[in-house]
């Protein structure tokens, strides 16, 4: 009855696969997030950016889904980054250890500046 609506969409920017997540990330989000990740992987994604937008609610079930994505990213030798989280959820991601597996950026533009700097240094 009270299932939350999460809008998930995928797009490409400068060779990076972006998964936009708008809404609540809870147990109800599993299929949508996993489908989006599967799609970008089938398209050959090497770097995946999870771009959170207006996410007022990410609970432990949502974090579990993201840990599952990290597992797949490691298995597929991809790189994972995260942007757009509120200060609170940045803290939560660090608290549970997700920040060890995904760089956290304030927003999409900051993420791309970092990607470009890393590319220039390599």
């Amino acid at each position: 009855m009270l299932e939350d609506e999460l809008n998930v969409s995928i797009r490409q920017r400068e060779g990076v696969s972006i998964i936009d997540l708008m809404g609540d990330v809870t147990t109800f989000a599993e299929e949508k997030i996993n489908d989006a990740y599967r799609q970008v992987t089938e398209q050959g994604a090497r770097t995946v950016l999870l771009n959170f937008r207006q996410n007022d609610y990410i609970n432990s079930a949502g974090i579990a889904i993201l840990i599952g994505i990290v597992t797949e990213v490691n298995r597929n030798n991809q790189k994972l980054a995260v942007s757009g989280l509120s200060q609170h959820f940045q803290k939560i991601f660090r608290m549970v250890g997700l920040a060890q597996y995904a760089e956290i950026y304030q927003d999409e533009d900051e993420a791309f500046q970092a990607f470009k700097s890393a590319l220039a240094e390599s």
């Binding site: 009855m1 009270l2 299932e3 939350d4 609540d24 809870t26 147990t27 109800f28 609610y57 609970n59 432990s60 079930a61 974090i63 579990a64 889904i65 840990i67 599952g68 990290v70 597992t71 490691n74 509120s86 200060q87 609170h88 939560i92 608290m95 549970v96 250890g97 997700l98 060890q100 597996y101």
Partner: protein
């Protein structure tokens, strides 16, 4: 004119259905803000409250339609105490150390099970009341 509360309390009762924890969370957040807790601490409280309600709904009441989760909020000037009481189809007080994210990624256990860890890290005090009657009672406290 700003109202000063020296003591205050509030009680809520929600069905054992995922999604209702968001309504409880929002109500308790407004209560805490009115009591003068900072927005940052209220964000911590929102996460803790949601996780405690989810545990009560999923693990205490086993997602059983018709059962309720009772939430009591008691403020005594220096601290806000929250008690989450389910109807206890199952005792679920966690006695083992939860797996770390690294262990979960390594496939050593379920991806779930981080709720209690989050509550304990975000709140000043947290734990099950051992002598709770008719169900599990989880209590956590936020100090000023």
């Amino acid at each position: 004119m700003k109202t000063t509360y020296h003591s205050a309390s509030m009680e809520l009762s929600i069905p054992s259905e995922l999604g209702y924890e968001i309504i409880a969370r929002d109500a308790v957040a407004v209560f805490a803000l009115r009591l003068g807790f900072s927005p940052e601490r209220v964000e911590d409280l929102k996460t803790a409250l949601s996780e405690a309600c989810i545990n009560a709904i999923e693990h205490g009441n086993l997602l059983t339609p018709g059962l309720r989760v009772h939430i009591a909020c008691i403020y005594d000037h220096e601290r806000l105490i929250i008690q989450i009481h389910d109807q206890g189809l199952k005792r679920y007080a966690c006695t083992t150390t939860p797996l770390t994210t690294a262990e979960k990624i390594a496939g050593l256990g379920s991806m779930r099970g981080m709720g209690l860890l989050l509550i304990e890290q975000l709140m000043d005090e947290a734990g099950f009341l051992p002598d709770a009657q008719d169900g599990n009672c989880f209590r956590f406290t936020l100090y000023r």
